[in-house]
C-alpha cells in the first residue's frame, strides 16, 4: 500500500540524494551571515522560526519555554556558524540544535520532578479563516492535537517532523540521529498509539 505521507512534499532535500551541484536551501543567506551580514542571519531566522518554534512547542508543551528555547537555538546557530558544514542542509542543522536543547530541558525536568508540574496543552494557533463552516474541522484538529500531546516525546517528535513539517524519513533520521530504516516503524507505532488514544480518550492521559 502507499500512504499519503509518502507523497507529501518535502521542505528540504534529502541528505543522501544531495549532490555538490544541488543548491541547498538557505545557502546564500548562510554564506552572507558567515561573512558578518546580520540581515542575512535575520532572513534565516524569519525563514526557520516557524518549524523551530513548532518543534520546540510540540516537545516542551509550554509556550514560554518553547519561545525561550527557539531563541536560544538561533543564538547557538549564530555562535557556531563558523563550524557549520556548508555542504549540509542548514535547516536540518538548526532543527537538530533545537531538538538537542529541548531534550536537555526535558531531561532536567525529569530530574527535578516538581510536584506542581501539570500536563500543559498549548492551544496551537489555527491559521484557517474564522468561519462557521470550519468549526467542526477545527474541533477535530484540536482533538488530534490534544491526543498528540498525550504521546511520549519521541512519538510527538516523529509525528510532528513527518506530518506537520513534511520532512522525509531520511531527514528525520538526520535530525534524530538514528538509522533511516527505523523511522517508518517509529511512525507506525506513534500513529497506532495516537489512533488508540483517539478511540479511547479516557485512557489517553497517562
Amino acid at each position: 500500500m502507499r500512504t499519503l505521507a509518502l507523497e507529501a512534499p518535502s521542505l528540504s532535500m534529502s541528505l543522501l540524494g544531495m549532490t555538490a551541484e544541488t543548491a541547498l536551501p538557505y545557502a546564500d543567506e548562510v554564506r552572507r551571515a558567515r561573512q558578518g551580514d546580520s540581515s542575512a542571519f535575520a532572513a534565516l531566522v524569519r525563514g526557520l522560526q516557524r518549524p523551530v518554534y513548532g518543534l520546540c512547542l510540540r516537545l516542551l508543551r509550554s509556550d514560554a519555554e518553547a519561545t525561550e528555547l527557539a531563541q536560544e537555538t538561533f543564538l547557538r546557530a549564530y555562535q557556531h556558524l563558523g563550524r557549520f558544514d556548508e555542504t549540509r542542509p542548514f535547516d536540518l542543522w538548526v532543527l537538530t540544535i533545537a531538538r538537542n536543547l529541548c531534550l536537555d530541558l526535558l531531561r532536567r525536568r525529569q530530574k527535578v520532578q516538581t510536584e506542581d508540574v501539570e500536563p500543559h496543552t498549548p492551544t496551537l494557533a489555527s491559521h484557517e479563516p474564522n468561519s462557521e463552516e470550519l468549526a467542526m474541522e477545527r474541533q477535530q484538529r484540536r482533538s488530534l492535537e490534544e491526543a498528540m500531546a498525550t504521546l511520549s516525546d519521541d512519538d510527538r517528535e516523529v509525528l510532528a517532523l513527518y506530518y506537520v513539517q513534511k520532512r522525509t524519513t531520511k531527514e528525520i533520521a538526520v535530525i534524530m540521529g538514528v538509522a533511516p530504516g527505523t523511522i517508518m516503524a517509529r511512525l507506525f507505532r506513534a500513529r497506532e498509539k495516537l489512533r488508540t488514544r483517539m478511540t479511547q480518550p479516557e485512557q489517553g492521559v497517562a
Partner: protein, 157 residues
C-alpha cells in the same frame, strides 16, 4: 515498492494477521494521516525575530574556521621563529639574552635614523606629508571596516 512501503506492509502484517483486520487497520492509518497532514506549525509570538536579533547582536561575533586557522598559523610561525632564534643563540638563556640586547640596540639605531629622516621630510614638505598620511589612514580604516562588517560598510560612504 519502496523500502518505506515494504516496511509499512511488514508492520501492518505484524499488527494484524487477518487480511480483513489488516485492511481496516491500514484504512484507519490512512485516515489518521489525512488529519495529521492538515496540522500546521504555529507562528512564534510577535517580536520573535527582533528578540533573536537583539540576543545575536549582544553575543560575541562568531569566529570562522578561516580565522581560527589563521590564528593557529600565526602562533605556529611565532613559536617556530622563537625556536630558531633560541637555537641560533646556542640554545642557552645567556645567548638568547645577548641576541635580544643586540636586537634592541639595532632597533634603537633604526628608530633614530628613521626619526631624523622624517624630520628632514617634514622640514621640506610638511603639508603634503600630512595630506598623504591622512589619506592613507582613512583608506586603511575604511578597508578594515569593510573587512570586519561588510553590511556596515554600505552605510559609511
Amino acid at each position: 515498492m519502496s523500502d518505506d512501503e515494504r516496511e509499512l506492509a511488514r508492520l501492518l502484517l505484524e499488527a494484524a494477521a487477518d487480511p480483513g483486520e489488516r485492511e481496516a487497520l491500514a484504512e484507519a492509518h490512512r485516515q489518521l494521516e489525512k488529519d495529521l497532514l492538515r496540522l500546521a506549525d504555529p507562528l512564534p509570538p510577535p517580536g520573535f525575530v527582533a528578540a533573536v536579533m537583539e540576543k545575536v547582536s549582544a553575543a560575541p561575533r562568531p569566529v570562522s574556521a578561516v580565522e581560527v586557522r589563521s590564528a593557529v598559523a600565526i602562533v605556529a610561525v611565532a613559536l617556530a621563529a622563537s625556536a630558531v632564534a633560541f637555537v641560533r643563540a646556542g640554545a642557552s638563556a645567556e645567548g638568547l639574552a645577548l641576541q635580544l640586547a643586540r636586537a634592541l640596540v639595532s632597533a634603537r639605531e633604526v628608530l633614530v635614523g628613521g626619526g631624523s629622516g622624517l624630520a628632514a621630510v617634514w622640514r621640506t614638505g610638511g603639508l603634503p606629508l600630512s595630506v598623504v598620511l591622512a589619506v592613507v589612514t582613512m583608506v586603511t580604516l575604511v578597508g578594515l571596516r569593510r573587512l570586519v562588517a561588510p553590511e556596515n560598510a554600505k552605510v559609511v560612504t
